[in-house]
């Protein structure tokens, strides 16, 4: 599904990713762990096409298509979703308008007619119920005045709405208390299916108690230095990252 090969990426001339190779197949959950500054968020950013980063070499394909040739919106409409580590506040753009525009842009991309207003509202209600999203949040401007936990929950809500094939959750657990974490994890688990894949980016093992990964990778200084199964996460929790250097 997602094939990253020998990827190098930099920002403002500073090299962050130094040859990352990763393969994610349908239905798999991968966890990417690593200390601060190891390049985890950069990896997520380049997969979704953040224009701040420059790809200097390597390739990313998604379902056989060259992602590097595609704009961020095309990647999203191909079915890739990023839950942002720091969701952006957009004053003046209502959640409803934002989501309706996103859904209809996705439908347009897939050559489907726009969703009617009533169908859209029904669909949104269903998804809100699924992840237990508060009505008062969806009636406000995008992320404006949301608490940290509410922002993360809103990311999962958007994921539920857009039904991506590949979801990348960038530090979705950071800044969440244990209850919020449980709610977010519960949402992610509900959305799981045999065709859908997930990449969890985290530096704590905590989230992995709720969302069990098939594979765990350790990113260090822009490279994957170790891969394993969920037991690797426990080992990291016990020993820290230093033994891998």
């Amino acid at each position: 599904m997602l094939e990253i090969k020998n990827l190098y990426a930099s920002i403002d001339g500073k090299e962050i990713l130094k040859g990352v190779t990763l393969s994610v197949k349908p239905g798999e959950i991968h966890a990417i762990m690593g200390p601060n500054g190891s390049g985890k968020s950069t990896l997520a950013s380049v997969v979704v096409g953040n224009p701040a980063f420059e790809i200097t070499s390597g390739s990313i394909t998604f379902e056989g298509k060259n992602l590097l040739e595609k704009d961020p919106e095309e990647r999203a409409n191909e079915g890739i979703f990023l839950s942002f580590q720091y969701p952006v506040e957009i004053p003046g753009v209502s959640m409803v308008n934002f989501m309706r525009t996103a859904i209809n842009e996705q439908r347009k991309y897939r050559e489907l007619p726009p969703m009617s207003a009533s169908d859209f509202l029904r669909y949104m209600r269903e998804k809100k119920a699924l992840i237990d999203m508060d009505n008062k949040l969806t009636s406000r401007s995008v992320n404006e005045g949301f608490s940290g936990g509410e922002k993360k929950k809103n990311e999962i809500f958007q994921m539920a709405m857009l039904e991506p094939k590949l979801a990348i959750l960038d530090e979705t657990d950071s800044g969440l208390d244990i209850d919020a974490l449980r709610v977010v994890a519960h949402g992610v688990n509900k959305l799981k299916s045999p065709e859908k894949s997930t990449i969890l980016i985290t530096h704590y093992q905590r989230l992995l108690e709720y969302i069990v990964p098939d594979y765990v990778h350790v990113l260090h200084d822009g490279k994957i230095v170790k891969s394993g199964t969920k037991e690797l996460a426990l080992e990291l929790e016990a020993k820290g990252y230093d033994w891998l250097k």
Binding site: P72, A76, F81, L82, E89, V93, F98, A102
Partner: protein, 447 residues
Amino acid sequence: MEQQYIELYKALHQLIKQNSATIINELRDAAFAKFESMGFPSTKHEDYKYTDLKPVFSADYGLNFKRLDFPVNPYQTFQCDVPEIHGYQYFVVNDGFYPSKEEHNGNLPEGVIICGLKEASEKHPELVAQYYGKLTTPQNDALIAFNETFAQDGFFMYVPENIQLDKPVQLINIMRSDVDMMANSRNLIIIERGAKAQLLVCDHAMDDVNFVANRVSEVFVGENAVYEDYKLENTHAKTANLATVLIDQKESSDTLTNIITLNNGISRNNIEVAMNGEQCESELCGMMVGANQQKIDNHTTILHNKANCHSNELFKYILDDVSVGAFTGRIFVEKDAQQTRAYQLNRNILLNKKAKVRTRPQLEIYADDVKCSHGATIGQIDEQALFYMRARGISLPEARLLLMYAFTADVIENIRIPTLADRMKMLVEKRLRGELGMHEGCTLCMH
């Protein structure tokens, strides 16, 4: 440049007076003397630093001093009934008030007078004389003096004590001519104690010729009265639209001025709100969309002359291409105007490196117990927000549009007539998509 108008007045002042009314004529010679000594303001004049009016006035324009009727009945030809608003609707074509020729508006509430200023001066001389020129005379402004020299007619509205107009009044200013044309129209609006009125002014230009409109409005808002003034400009690149609005507020009155400029040539709005009683509320806001060579200059003055008043000012500009914006926000707090609250914010988005905006907050505060704030920002579209939206599948143009629209949303939300706010939302969106034409007549109404 001034000389041709000075000679024009000397040659034609009799004709001008014959075709106007006594009360309007009484101030004419003094205004002319003032204009003769001042001339048109150059960019050396502090108040006109950012908008050069010389090219506007150096061209030749027709002036309709004989009050020749254009063979149009705008009430029939100009399909401008805002279906959702059902306002009382009136037309000023160039500078002449066109009375409704049929039962167009139904009955106005008892005592309310809406007609041409010339007609009002003849039929209600005492009422008009009590107010006409009272706000303009103390001013030292060339555009006002010029207007007072040449204006013969305009729009008159009188809402007597405790009458609240049940629906908005719509004034449609149309520039219509086959040759280059200048219009100096004069408006007088009197909202008595406890009364309420909403005025919606639509400025349009119909023909592909050069137009100059130099309009002056005096607005008197009595104790506890409410006055809302909405203006939508959708003219064209050959229009210079100069408008002065002077508002006098008495105790506990409430005014709202909301200006939306979507298409224009050169626009200059001189707005002055004088709070001459305690406990006044005043909201002054606007949003401007500029592209190509549009020039938009809002010069605002809020005079806190009495204590315990509150003013709130918000202007937003989105400028593309080589368009130029200017904003001056003058707030003056008198020595005794304690407990004043005066807030001002001007925010601008420049979509192009060649677009320009100049913003000047000017606060003069002589009282010591006040809350005043001002802010000005000039920036580009938020790149992070843009990427966030694109990461949700929203295309770059659509994401830009949503952000631009969001930027202007709070100005539109200030509109207190919900159906008008909805209509404005639609028009602003259409304008931001580049789909709003300049010759669409009254865009408020046409679907």
